[in-house]
Amino acid sequence: MTRKQKRLSVIAGGLAFLGAATGLTFYALGQKASYFYMPADLTTASVQPGQRIRLGGLVEKGTIQRGQGATVAFSVTDTHKSIKVTYTGILPDLFREEQGVITEGTFGPDGVFVADSVLAKHDERYMPKEVADGLKAKGVWQESKSE
């Protein structure tokens, strides 16, 4: 190979590498990112059973049921609509009735959301941002509540 050919092949190799990395990144963004929904969004958005999403809202009062072992069932609501969620594991310390929560998982065929992770707000003063924004948009949340 001549010097020029060598240089060209190095450049082509580098570009192919970057192209592959870029392609993979976009593919992964399309496939592996999970969308955030509030319960009322789910009447309009089409979410297939098995599609991974994040579901956020308030833990509805009086819906927390402890079942067998470490399985817990509760409803997540945005006051317009509520969705039943089951979760097996230890709930975060700040998980409480009528508090903001984000759950991540998939819908089962029976329409119950099976969460594999549950996040509550980080401390007393703050809601998870997504939940606070969502509730504000739906007119449920007032700024004064945050203090």
Partner: protein, 663 residues
């Protein structure tokens, strides 16, 4: 005292303005006296910032609740250690720590930079001063820690219980030393662009600073990871959380910088690229500061959200990143480019390293910023987590890790892959054996787990091979070999240690993810549970009182093979009345390099308690590997070559003392 601190902060801001302008004019006018102003001003600025920080720390230590920041983040009943660490456990105080470290590095350049060319030193200090000025202004305008309350409250609102931990004493200072340490590399780059001149001695100056920053950043990230692991009670060590990514991006870019600076120093090549990397690395540090401090992300790190702060930091970010890149675009063509080189060589391997690392940085950047951008543009909220990074970051890292052992064994200018492969045969055989053992003899091992173990062992064995080859194992007599080994440059040990640490971290990650087991169950007092060959008995729940909390301690006994108790593990639910907040203290028992980890859940109506337990094999290697990497960086820093002016000293020494008499 508080007012003294406040006043010192304002003075430090004024001095940073002087530091930003006077030396710069001096270098333009070639006026020695103006240029000489930079050094003393930088040292005084540091002293004033330290005074200011000490004033705030003493307000925290003495629980002076007339200071708003102390009132919001402290409590008189807190143990003294958390009162002091609480100084930076909040937005205002942590920004003050940030500038304290910034001015500290500036003062270091002033103190140790006497052998730098005068104009370069003046310009570096000026750039450093400009970063300081921006952040001092930010603190004074939007995040003043010294604001008083009148009337003074009697009691404080307590530090966020999650932060009441020894981790707060270690993680933020280390991380900031890393983050902000890269500001020196940035200042050197911008100074070189201002001067329009760059040479190999520049790289020799920048490399130790990069090493220092990289060392602390490694420690900060490792410590943060361990803290999250034991404090949050989820048993995870890395969550691909945007805040973690914010610290990981400068680390990746800094690692690339560390390697490209070697090429520049040794071969005078990759000059412009190294300079750009130095700018990008600190830009990513600034981006990290923005993401964490502006409140665009929700996390334990976002102490309070205030939109003006976000906008202010965004302005600083735009100014410095935009300004430096614009300067780069204008001036880079003036710098003489380095020579070309053969792709199969040490420098070729280092370029490959840079290609992989910067691409990996870019994927992490996309994964971190894309959700923010998408929300701003369309309002859709997505989260990008482990599945994304497994698919993008993972495939980039695997080939990089596979070629790591080759790098140090290739010669400069023109390397011989075949010869390097021959030398690595033993390491390859060991790695293959480890892979087969892991794949065949461990139950439930997947192909990926076996490959991962093999790769980790390959890295460790490759690092050891490097040392062995360089000390001549197998080709010279043992006495000569030991003498050669002891006489190897420190930087060779540094490289080997850093690569070995990387292997250990990988081993810990693969072992924990592949062979770790977990159980979630509800237990009553007296019941036992078995997990991966370890038997635990739940003794019961016992209430206890702490200084500013009450807790329910769940006591567990580890049952030995003979049926007797072989140790105790305690996990607790702590309730902090001031913030009405509960935290979980995980119970951890370290057995060799592995850990039994358990965390207590809620109490059921029938009196049983939900317990989640994990067996985490080799998990401590994840952070232990980080410590070994830090040791490698420290070792490299001790290399004579990195001290400016050292080569001449070394030559003198070499002629005076025969190498054979060295230990």
């Amino acid at each position: 005292m508080v007012e003294t601190g406040h006043f010192a902060l304002v003075l430090a801001f004024a001095l940073s303005l002087v530091q930003m302008t006077v030396p710069l004019f001096g270098s333009r006018l070639n006026n020695q006296r103006l240029m000489a102003v930079g050094g003393p001003v930088a040292v005084t600025g540091f002293a004033l910032t330290a005074l200011s920080f000490a004033a705030l720390a003493s307000a925290y230590a003495n629980s002076d609740f007339s200071v708003a920041s102390v009132w919001e983040n402290s409590h008189s009943l807190q143990p003294m250690i958390y009162k002091i660490t609480g100084t930076w456990g909040n937005h205002e105080g942590s920004m003050l720590l940030w500038v304290l470290i910034l001015t500290f590095f500036g003062a270091l350049v002033a103190a140790f930079g006497s052998n730098l060319p005068a104009t370069l030193r003046a310009n570096v200090l000026a750039v450093q001063g400009s970063i300081g000025a921006a952040f001092f202004l930010f603190i004074l305008a939007t995040s003043n820690p010294f604001i008083r309350l009148n009337p003074a409250p009697i009691e404080g609102r307590d530090l966020n219980p999650v932060l009441q931990d020894l981790g707060l004493a270690i993680h933020p200072p280390l991380l900031y030393l890393g983050y902000v340490g890269f500001s020196i590399c940035f200042s050197f780059s911008v100074a070189a662009l201002i001067e329009g001149r760059i040479d190999a001695s520049w790289a020799r100056w920048v490399r130790p600073w990069t090493l220092v920053a990289w060392m602390f950043l490694t420690g900060g990230i490792a410590m943060g990871s361990y803290w999250a692991y034991y404090e949050l009670g989820w048993g995870g060590f890395w969550f691909w959380d945007p805040v973690e990514n914010a610290s990981f991006m400068p680390w990746l870019a800094g690692t690339a910088l560390l390697h490209s600076a070697i090429v520049m120093e040794k071969r005078s090549a990759l000059k412009i690229w190294t300079l750009l990397l130095a700018i990008l690395t600190f830009s990513l540090s600034l981006l990290g500061t923005f993401l964490v401090r502006s409140g665009v992300l929700t996390s334990v790190h976002a102490f309070a959200t205030d939109p003006t702060r976000g906008v202010f930091i965004l302005c600083i970010l735009t100014l410095f990143i935009g300004g430096s890149l614009a300067l780069f675009a204008l001036r880079a063509s003036r710098l003489t480019a380095g020579g070309l080189f053969h792709p199969i060589s040490r420098e070729g391997a280092l370029v490959l390293n840079n290609l992989f690392l910067t691409t990996a940085t870019a994927t992490v950047l996309v994964g971190t910023l894309y959700p923010l951008a998408l929300e701003a543009l369309t309002g859709d909220k997505i989260s990008v987590g482990a599945p994304f990074f497994d698919l993008t970051f993972g495939p980039l890292m695997l080939p990089l890790l596979a070629i790591v052992p080759f790098g140090p064994l290739l010669a400069w200018k023109r390397g011989d892959v075949f010869a390097a492969s021959q030398r690595l045969m033993a390491a390859f055989a060991v790695a293959l054996a480890a892979m087969l053992v892991a794949g065949l003899f461990i139950d439930g091992a997947s192909v990926f787990a076996a490959l991962g173990i093999g790769l980790a062992v390959w890295l460790v064995a490759g690092a050891l091979t490097d040392l062995a080859v360089k000390s001549g194992v197998g080709s010279v007599a043992p006495a000569v070999m030991f003498r050669r080994f002891a006489g190897l440059p420190r930087s060779v040990f540094g490289t080997a240690l850093a690569h070995l640490g990387l292997g250990l971290t990988l081993l810990g990650i693969v072992a924990t993810l592949s062979f770790g087991t977990e159980k979630i169950l509800s237990m009553r007092a007296g019941e036992t549970v078995e997990l991966s060959g370890h038997t635990l008995r739940f003794v019961g729940l016992y209430p206890a009182q702490g200084p500013n909390y009450s807790e329910d301690r769940g006591r567990f006994e580890l049952i030995g093979a003979d049926g007797n108790a072989a140790g105790e593990i305690t996990s607790a639910k702590r309730f902090f009345p001031v913030r009405q907040m509960t935290t979980t203290e995980s119970g951890i028992r370290t057995l060799w390099f592995s850990q039994l980890y358990l965390s207590l859940g809620d109490e059921n109506k029938d009196g049983s308690v939900v317990v989640r337990l994990w067996w985490k094999p080799l998990v401590t290697l994840i952070w232990g590997g980080g410590l070994v990497m830090m040791a490698g960086a420290a070792m490299s820093l001790m290399d004579r070559r990195l001290r400016v002016g050292a080569p001449s000293r070394r030559r003198k020494q070499a002629s005076a003392v025969a190498p054979a008499t060295l230990p």
